[in-house]
Amino acid sequence: MAKRAAPEVNAGSMADIAFLLLIFFLVTTTIETDSGLNRKLPPMEESDEDVIIKEKNIFQLEVNRKNQLFLKTGGEEKIIEIKDLRESAVTFLDNGGGTGDSACKYCQGKKNPRSSDNFDKAIISLQNDRATEYDTYIAVQNEIIAAYNELRNREFKRAFPTLDMNFVEAENAYGDARTTPATKAKLKEKLEQIKTLVPQKFSEAEPKSN
C-alpha cells in the first residue's frame, strides 16, 4: 500500500488568530501608574504634653475653599502663588537664624532672626479646607517635598562629593533591585545621615469644616 503523505496544515489563518489575541491584549492593557508621593500619617494617640514651638519656626500654609494659598510666617501673612511656594519654603528652611545651641551649621540662608533657626527646628504646617480640590493639595504637597529634596540634594552633594549623585538619585539607586546589597548598605547609612540632618518636619492640621 502506498503511504499517504500527511496533508499540510493550512497556516493561512494563523495571522488572523494572532491579530485577534493582539487586539485583545491591546484593549485590556492599562499602563498602571505605580508611583506617587509617599507620606506618613501621624499616629492617632494624642500626646498630652503641648510642645512649645516658637512662631518664627513655623511656616504655616493654608489652602482655602477657593484653592488659594495663604502663607503665615515670620510675623507676616500673605497670599502666594503655588509656583512661588518652593522658593519661599527653601528660603524658610535654609534661613539658619539660630544662635548658640540652635545655630545652623550648614544653612546658607540670610540668617533672618524672624525666620527659622535651623533645619531641625523648622516646621512646615499645612491646613486645608474640606472643599479644597485634590489636585491643588497634591501640587502644594509636591512643592513642599520638592523644597526638602532641594536642600537634601545640596547637603548630600556637600557631604559626599565623591559619590557624584544627589539625594534623589541615591534614593532611587537604593530602591533599585539591581543595586548590590553591599552598595545598598552603604547608601542607606548616607541617606539616613542626610535625613537626620534635614528632617521633614511637616505637620497637617485637621481641616476646617464649613
Binding site: 480640590e133 485634590y134 481641616p207
Partner: protein, 161 residues
C-alpha cells in the same frame, strides 16, 4: 511558442506576507508581557493629578489600593454625582475602610504587615473632605504609610485656573 516570452508588463508581484504572523506574534508577546491585569474594575472616574517629586512603589504585593472619584457615567443614575470611595469592586463608605484594611492585612503574612502601603488613587477633581475622611480612617486602624498615587508631570501645569 517562444521560450523567452516577454513577461506581461505592468503587473506588480504580490508582496510576500509569510512573515506577517511572526511580526504579529512579536507584538502579541510584547503586550502579553507588558500587560498587568487590572485587579479592580473601576466604577469611578479616575484621572490622577500630576506631580514630579514622585517615588516608585516597588513591591506591588504590599500595596492596598483605595480609589475615589465621581461615579462614571454608567453608575451616575444610581450613585449620584458626588465623589465616592471604591474598594475592590464595589462602592464603599468611609466606615468600610477599617474592615477593608483588616481583610487585606489578614491576607498577608504577618511579617509583611508593617510594610503595607496604602495607595490613594484619587481623582483630581475630588474634594479634600473625602480624602481627609479616608486619612482619618486610616489613622484609626494604624495604616500610616500612604502614597498619593500621581502621574509623572508638572504639578503646576495640571492645575486648572
Amino acid at each position: 511558442m517562444s521560450k523567452f516570452k516577454k513577461k506581461k508588463g505592468g503587473e506588480m508581484p504580490a508582496v510576500n506576507t509569510a512573515s506577517l504572523p511572526d511580526i504579529v506574534f512579536m507584538l502579541l508577546f510584547f503586550f502579553m508581557v507588558a500587560t498587568v491585569m487590572r485587579q479592580n474594575t473601576l466604577m469611578i472616574e479616575n484621572k490622577l493629578p500630576q506631580a514630579d517629586q514622585i517615588e516608585k512603589l516597588d513591591k506591588k504585593s504590599l500595596v492596598m489600593y483605595i480609589y475615589a472619584g465621581k461615579p462614571s457615567t454608567n453608575y451616575k443614575s444610581q450613585y449620584g454625582n458626588e465623589a465616592r470611595i471604591q474598594l475592590n469592586d464595589k462602592f464603599a463608605d468611609v466606615s468600610d475602610i477599617a474592615a477593608f484594611i483588616a481583610a487585606e492585612r489578614a491576607a498577608k503574612r504577618e511579617e509583611e504587615v508593617p510594610f503595607l502601603t496604602t495607595a490613594l488613587k484619587v481623582d483630581s477633581d475630588a474634594n479634600m473632605g473625602l480624602v481627609t475622611d479616608i486619612k482619618q480612617e486610616l489613622r484609626k486602624v494604624n495604616a500610616l504609610k500612604i502614597n498619593y498615587t500621581t502621574r509623572k508631570g508638572n504639578a503646576l501645569e495640571g492645575l486648572k485656573k
